[in-house]
């Protein structure tokens, strides 16, 4: 049982599991924090960004001024943003048999894996995961492709050059592997390799293992996976939530009795309680709007936004915000809002029951109907006609490097009346804001991460009691910024086994059994013999037939018949020659009785000597020795075959045959 760890990001995992001759990739998350090193891609020409000075070194000389720009003391690469891929060199990814996806955030690197590595396997994911994952990819591709960048910077990646750059560029890892965004055809090709699955559906992989997705409670269609054979069970827990939000609740019971539990995707902000953060979000939003300011919420087009809209639906009337327009701008805004309403079977119980009323499960339908929430594919077109201030805008991308959000940052950044509220926990908000400095706009950080926190993990582990826990190394120590918070790490017995990027782990579990089937005809032919009370033995002579990782014992072929025709003898008909098996013997020889028997049969000069291991019976006249030991009996006589056969038959009388 091996695990190849291809990603070091605990919430964007990519691991490969080698388990019983199968190679299974668990998630393929794409680390987008690399984009924070790049300048934003403005939708309309931004004089401010285009006038940024080049990098000036300490000695006053400019350096790579076409590729690197400086803004408020930070250096940015002026090029199309690039992403940090999972490790591709650790093992040959073309050997991966299947990829299991746990949620739509953890599949963003899929096109890189399926389209660039010679991957020929199958990807398994639930329907909402695929549909919403497609929306996220579509939005990503769209945001980057619609702002073509004339130049592409690569000189700075040269190791010699990178060494000279200021932090954080100097410390960026594996920049040579950073890749530009994939294209829509690649996305389509990747998604076409996905096979849809439902919760608790059992999928056989080559007969060797069975994989099953379970609801993980984190997002629409999000799953944990059980990977099991007849005697081993590995659970893969990735991005789970115990809070009551919109998705179906987490299935914990099925995780019980795991030999190994791989635990990833815990909350990124363990100190922030999501309820408190939603309150904070609402308060700050209301305060800004009441003072005549606009609110910008950089977000993904699916996920927490559904819950936020639901909270706002209940809050806006009480806060006197009924007349404030809410805009949701994304190329996939419409699809996202509509998809959320049709995946009823993947929703929590409350929302499911609404469907039978029939009512839309999410109240944002009503917000749209009453014109309080309006959605647009981009800032161009209808939006510019309808745009009224003060307003609240939800738009992507949370990194603030591409997408419509860049435009609003440029537009509203200069006024202290406006507020940007960060709700997505994936990016450091200070880093995200760096290329917009100096900024007059207020910034509020309300990260809402509903994934498991450490208290919940500790309860979960107590409940499901896995034999071994494997997790990213980040979870085995307190966060670096709060080294005294020993409560913010996984605490279990035995201590968890940790991994980091580019590491290969031998999982602490040894396989001990294999299941073999026996054909009924063969079973019929067996004659068990009770050798101890309750224990019977039978010899089996059979052919072990192994195909598709299934092992079957079949009747041995009949002894070869003499060929009926001399004319033809085909090689293919040649079955292995098979002699009837010799019977096995068991039992022990009582020496005294044996001697008596010998005497009865005319051996008169029998002598018995005791040895360390048994006895030696001497037939002096015949110059013959019979050595009787616990596990062997030898008859030693020189060239007297009839005598040997006679003695053998006498010995055999005392033993059982089967």
């Amino acid at each position: 049982l091996f695990q190849y760890c291809l990603s070091g990001h605990p919430t964007l995992p990519c691991n490969v599991l080698k388990f019983k001759s199968t190679t299974i990739m668990l998630d393929c998350g794409l680390d987008m924090t690399s984009t924070l090193n790049f300048l934003p891609l403005p939708l309309v020409q931004s004089p401010r960004l285009s006038k940024l000075p080049g990098l000036v070194l300490k000695d006053g000389s400019t350096f790579l001024d076409k590729e690197l720009k400086e803004c408020s003391g930070h250096v940015f690469v002026d090029s199309v943003p690039e992403f940090c891929l999972p490790e591709t060199e650790l093992l040959d990814l073309s050997t991966v048999d299947v990829i299991l996806i746990s949620n739509y955030h953890c599949m963003m690197a899929l096109p890189y894996i399926t389209e660039y590595t010679g991957f020929t396997g199958t990807v398994y994911a639930t329907e909402p995961t695929v549909q919403i994952g497609r929306l996220l990819m579509e939005e990503l591709v769209n945001s980057i492709e619609r702002v073509p960048k004339a130049q592409s910077a690569s000189t700075w990646k040269n190791k010699e050059v990178q060494r000279l750059l200021p932090a954080p560029l100097k410390d960026a890892v594996e920049v040579s592997m950073w890749k530009k965004c994939y294209s829509m055809p690649e996305v389509n090709a990747a998604l076409s390799k996905i096979q849809l699955v439902g919760y608790s559906q059992k999928i056989e992989l080559f007969g060797a293992v069975q994989v099953t997705p379970l609801s993980s409670g984190y997002a629409l269609g999000s799953s944990n996976w059980i990977i099991q054979s007849h005697y081993e069970k590995v659970s893969y827990v990735s991005g789970s939530s115990l809070l009551t939000t919109h998705p179906q609740p987490m299935d914990q019971a099925s995780l019980k009795n795991s030999d190994v539990l791989i635990l990833t995707g815990l909350t990124q902000i363990p100190t922030a309680n999501p309820d408190g953060m939603v309150g904070e979000f609402c308060s700050n939003l209301a305060m800004t709007v009441r003072n005549g300011g606009n609110v910008l919420v950089p977000c993904y087009p699916s996920g927490v936004i559904y819950d936020l809209l639901e909270c706002l639906y209940q809050y806006i009337d009480s806060a006197g915000l009924s007349n404030v327009p809410f805009y949701f701008i994304s190329p996939v805004a419409n699809s996202s809002l509509e998809f959320s309403q049709i995946f009823a079977e993947w929703l929590c119980h409350n929302k499911q029951t609404k469907v039978y009323l029939p009512e839309p499960p999410f109240p944002h339908a009503e917000l749209i109907q009453t014109n309080k929430l309006k959605h647009y594919p981009s800032i161009h077109g209808d939006f510019s006609n309808d745009f009224k201030q003060p307003c609240v805008v939800f738009t992507g991308h949370p990194s603030l490097r591409f997408g419509d959000v860049v435009h609003f940052m440029e537009l509203w950044g200069k006024s202290s009346l406006n507020t940007v509220i960060f709700t997505e926990p994936d990016f450091s908000y200070l880093d995200a804001l760096a290329p917009y400095q100096p900024l007059a706009m207020k910034c509020v950080y309300c990260p809402i991460d509903t994934r498991l926190n450490f208290i919940q993990v500790s309860k979960l582990l107590k409940e499901v009691q896995p034999l071994h826990v494997v997790c990213p190394e980040q979870y085995t120590q307190p966060p670096p910024s709060q080294s005294h918070r020993t409560d913010l790490m996984i605490d279990c017995q035995p201590p968890p086994m940790s991994y980091r990027r580019a590491e290969v782990l031998t999982l602490p579990y040894k396989r001990r059994y294999e299941k073999i089937e026996i054909m009924p005809e063969l079973a019929d032919s067996l004659v068990p013999l009770e050798i101890k009370p309750g224990i019977s033995l039978a010899t089996v002579s059979a052919v072990l037939h192994t195909k598709d990782n299934k092992h079957v014992l079949q009747l041995p072929p009949k002894p070869a018949q003499p060929p009926s025709s001399k004319k033809r003898k085909r090689v293919s008909d040649d079955v292995p020659e098979c002699k009837p098996p010799k019977p096995l013997l068991s039992g022990s020889i009582p020496v005294e009785q044996f001697v008596q028997t010998l005497e009865k049969h005319g051996f008169s000069d029998v002598k018995v000597e005791d040895t360390a291991k048994g006895h030696i019976v001497l037939l002096q006249e015949a110059e013959t020795l019979i050595q009787i030991e616990e596990d062997s009996t030898h008859i030693i006589c020189d060239n007297d075959e009839p005598l040997r056969v006679k003695l053998r038959d006498l010995v055999l009388k005392f033993l059982q045959k089967f």
Partner: protein
């Protein structure tokens, strides 16, 4: 006993003793017992039994039943006990040989009904009631009753067991009597026989190997020392002191928590106040040997005592401060902070291990903090608490709880891990912190105190209940700010206040209504305490808080609207009442706007809470003379009455009557009439103009119409309040215009005062009230009103209104009738069945 009752009683007794009847309602039986107690107290002679032979018959027939109803049997026993408490009745019952059948061996205690706990409970209560005289005591002691009671101490029903212990204590004190002289030692003491038996039982139990017997005796002793402070209790103690001492050091019995209660009750008794008898040594030993959780209540109790040796007091304080000391030491580097204590009473590792265990840490801290809060609330504590260190320790706990503290020791890390996010400890610590605000503390920590409080107010992780407590602590500390040297640093104060208002601003916008509500309450508190401080007023007015508060007048949650009304009412003091220059606000917070808004809420808000809040704000404004000149005030009151008199919520009307009361006082003061009707009136102000003007004003404001309507309100408090006000007005006006009172007869017919009087008697004024003219009363005519005040018998009305609404139904006769009626109904129902 009235004749009617005496006639009803035999039927009631017969009905109760009838086995075919289902058990009567328990409350009826309780009321009957109460009635008999009153009867026995009123006529403590045997006449009660002689006049009502049905009672004896009732007892006899109940005892004769093979399977009596347990609840009726229990009632019988209690009734018999109540009656036998009179010595004459006791003798009578004894002559009838009933007592032995009720409470002796021939009674229920040897029958199958004894298995029912209610019967055992009735028996114990009956005996307790009966034991008021020596013959009863002898009867119980000589008849083997004591053994039964000893057994009942271990009864499976906790009620019975506890009643049995109390009964034994009662018997012991009755047996010893008040006069017993105290010998020098226990051995010389000659106890009366009954007392001797009980004391022997106590001593034997304490020395037995049975933990339950030991616990029963300790319980008994605790009750005894708690209720009896006679000198002989000391002798009793001398006999058991050694054994108690043994239990303190030997924890095989697991009775430590009971020992703490016992010693505390003894410490409160003046008998043990002198140093003799080694009592205080036992207390010291207890403080030393009990766990901090067990010793906590004992320590607090001792610290509240006026009379107690100083060394014991200090030791008790040390026990209480130990966990707080441990917290300080866990949080700081060794030698950096000395902690609270020089030395500890018990092993400090015991406290440390309790604090480092998940299950006990929060418990110990919550208990300690609650005890400290209790001590801080005592005005003259006989011992000085180290306030500064305590404050430091409480703040440390709060920092542990929100993960702000970086602990320097392994113990600190463990505590921090346990306490982070622990709401219970947060709440207790905030309560203790609020209580500490009353004490003079060193100013140096004030800065960090507000930092910590602000962190709680600010953090989105703070739960609504913890937030409320944080608000309370903050307002208490802010209220004390002007007295501190911290306050003299204007920059610091300004910064603190600005931070507070910034966070308040955010909380006022919270989606959680409880948070908005407690934020408004906090604002109201702050204004009440600090409205005279310039710094406060400026910070408040330059923040968004006033505007947000005004917005919340339209909150969808009625509680929040009510709190917003109250806050706005108080805000008015800052914005214009006491701030003539009105520095920042411009004209958006003028008096008229606010008043109009509140008036609108009073007339239109669909919920009662906001309307009640408006009424109390208006009353408060009037009390503080903020409603403007006389004419303005008159119009104001008139408008309020006009709106409130049709309100369906009686509390709003009551609020309006309170406003009217304040208005009346206000008017009398304006015109020089004394507030108090019995105060001498100075001749200078008694000119007729001064007397008439208030009357005319009251008539103009339609005050009388409102008052007389309210007299007949269906909600009694409204009627009572209106009557009180009218009586006060009557005493004012009628005393000062005795001469004018002639000729009332002429007016009465014309203005239909008799009609008013009649209607008032019928209590139907509200329906029949004439709107205008006709036969009606002109409530705006001063003369008619004077006449009405004089003519109507307000005193009688007052008495009628003050009578309890069930005064008719409460009589014993009605009770007996009720019982009979229940029986009758069941009979009817029975008939229906066939």
């Amino acid at each position: 006993m009235s004749r009617e009752c005496a006639m009803l009683l035999p039927r009631v007794c017969a009905a109760l003793a009838d086995p075919r009847q289902p058990g009567s309602d328990d409350t009826c039986l309780e009321k009957m017992l109460d009635w008999f107690r009153e009867l026995a107290a009123g006529e403590p002679t045997v006449k009660l039994l002689q006049d009502n032979p049905c009672l004896t018959e009732f007892f006899t027939s109940m005892l004769a039943l093979p399977e009596p109803n347990p609840s009726v049997l229990a009632f019988t026993l209690r009734l018999a006990g109540t009656i036998a408490a009179l010595e004459g009745c006791f003798q009578h019952l004894q002559q009838q040989k009933l007592l032995a059948r009720l409470f002796g061996e021939d009674g229920p205690l040897n029958s199958i009904v004894w298995e029912d706990a209610s019967v055992r409970s009735g028996w114990v209560e009956g005996v307790q009631s009966m034991l008021q005289h020596q013959p009863a005591l002898h009867f119980m002691c000589n008849g083997g009753g004591l053994d039964v009671i000893f057994t009942l101490q271990g009864d499976p029903s906790l009620f019975v067991a506890s009643a049995a212990s109390r009964l034994l204590v009662h018997m012991l004190t009755l047996s010893v009597g008040p006069e017993m002289t105290v010998p020098l030692n226990a051995k010389d003491c000659s106890w009366p026989p009954c007392a001797q038996m009980i004391i022997k039982h106590i001593e034997d139990s304490l020395q037995s190997s049975s933990a339950s017997h030991i616990k029963q005796s300790l319980k008994l002793l605790t009750i005894l020392f708690g209720s009896c402070q006679a000198p002989w209790t000391k002798v009793l103690w001398l006999g058991i002191a050694k054994q108690v001492e043994f239990f303190l050091t030997e924890d095989s019995v697991q009775a430590q928590h009971m020992l703490a209660d016992l010693l505390l009750n003894m410490a409160r008794s003046p008998v043990f106040h002198d140093a003799e008898g080694n009592f205080w040594a036992s207390v010291t030993s207890a403080l030393e040997h009990l766990t901090p959780v067990q010793a906590g209540p004992l320590a607090v109790g001792i610290l509240r005592l006026r009379q107690c040796p100083q060394d014991v007091r200090i030791q008790a304080l040390t026990v209480l401060l130990q966990p707080m000391d441990c917290i300080l030491r866990a949080a700081s580097q060794p030698l950096e902070y000395a902690g609270l204590l020089d030395e500890s009473v018990s092993d400090p590792s015991a406290v440390e291990s309790l604090l480092s265990s998940k299950s006990s840490c929060a418990n110990l801290l919550c208990q300690t903090l609650a005890h400290l809060e209790e001590l801080l609330s005592v005005t003259c504590l006989p011992v000085d608490l180290p306030y500064a260190s305590l404050l430091h320790s409480v703040l440390t706990i709060l920092q542990f709880c929100n993960g702000l503290l970086i602990p320097a020791s392994p113990l600190g890390s463990k505590i921090s891990q346990i306490l982070i996010g622990c709401f219970r400890v947060q709440r207790s610590a905030l309560d203790a912190l609020a209580a500490l605000s009353d004490r003079k503390c060193c100013d140096t920590v004030i800065g960090s105190l507000f930092d910590i409080l602000l962190a709680y107010l600010e953090s989105p992780n703070t739960s609504p209940t913890v937030l409320k407590k944080s608000f309370q602590a903050t307002s208490k500390w802010l209220a004390h700010l002007p007295g501190m040297s911290f306050f003299k640093n204007q920059g610091q104060t300004e910064k603190t206040l600005q931070d507070v208002f910034l966070v308040l601003q955010k909380r006022l916008c919270s989606p959680c209504w409880e948070v908005r509500d407690s934020s408004l309450e906090f604002l109201t508190n702050l204004i009440e305490c600090l409205r005279d401080q310039d710094e406060f007023r400026q910070s408040l007015l330059s923040s968004e808080v006033p505007k947000l508060t005004e917005n919340l007048l339209e909150d969808p949650e009625s509680y929040v609207r009510a709190s917003a009304v109250t806050a706005m009412g108080h805000l008015a003091f800052v914005t214009y009442f006491f701030a003539p220059e009105s520095p920042v606000t411009g004209n958006q917070y003028n008096k008229e706007n606010t008043m109009a808004k509140l008036q609108e809420i009073l007339s239109t808000d669909p919920e009662g809470f906001p309307r009640r809040a408006v009424m109390s704000i208006f009353t408060m404004w009037l009390e503080e003379s903020c409603t403007g000149q006389l004419e303005e005030t008159e119009q104001f009151v008139s408008r309020v009455i006009q709106t409130a008199e049709h309100d369906l919520d009686w509390e709003v009307k009551l609020g309006c009557l309170e406003l009217v009361q304040v208005f009346c006082i206000h008017m009398f003061c304006q015109f020089g009439l004394p507030e108090c009707p019995y105060a001498p009136v100075s001749p200078a102000v008694s000119s007729s103009n001064h007397q008439d003007e208030p009357l005319r004003t009251f008539c103009r404001t339609n005050l009388f119409s409102f008052l007389f309507r309210s007299l007949c309100d269906c909600d009694k408090p409204v009627g009572q309040k209106a009557c009180d006000i009218l009586l006060a007005l009557k005493s004012h006006f009628c005393r000062s215009s005795v001469i004018d009172s002639q000729g009332s007869g002429d007016l009465s017919a014309e203005h239909s005062i008799p009609w008013l009087q009649r209607t008032l008697r019928q209590g139907s004024l509200a329906q029949n009230f004439p709107t205008d003219g006709g036969n009606g009363v002109d409530f705006q005519d001063p003369e008619s009103m004077m006449l009405a005040l004089r003519t109507i018998d307000l005193e009688e009305l007052h008495d009628a209104l003050n009578k309890c609404s069930d005064h008719v139904e409460k009589s014993p006769q009605s009770l007996l009738e009720d019982i009979l009626a229940t029986v009758a109904t069941t009979e009817e129902n029975e008939a229906d069945c066939y």
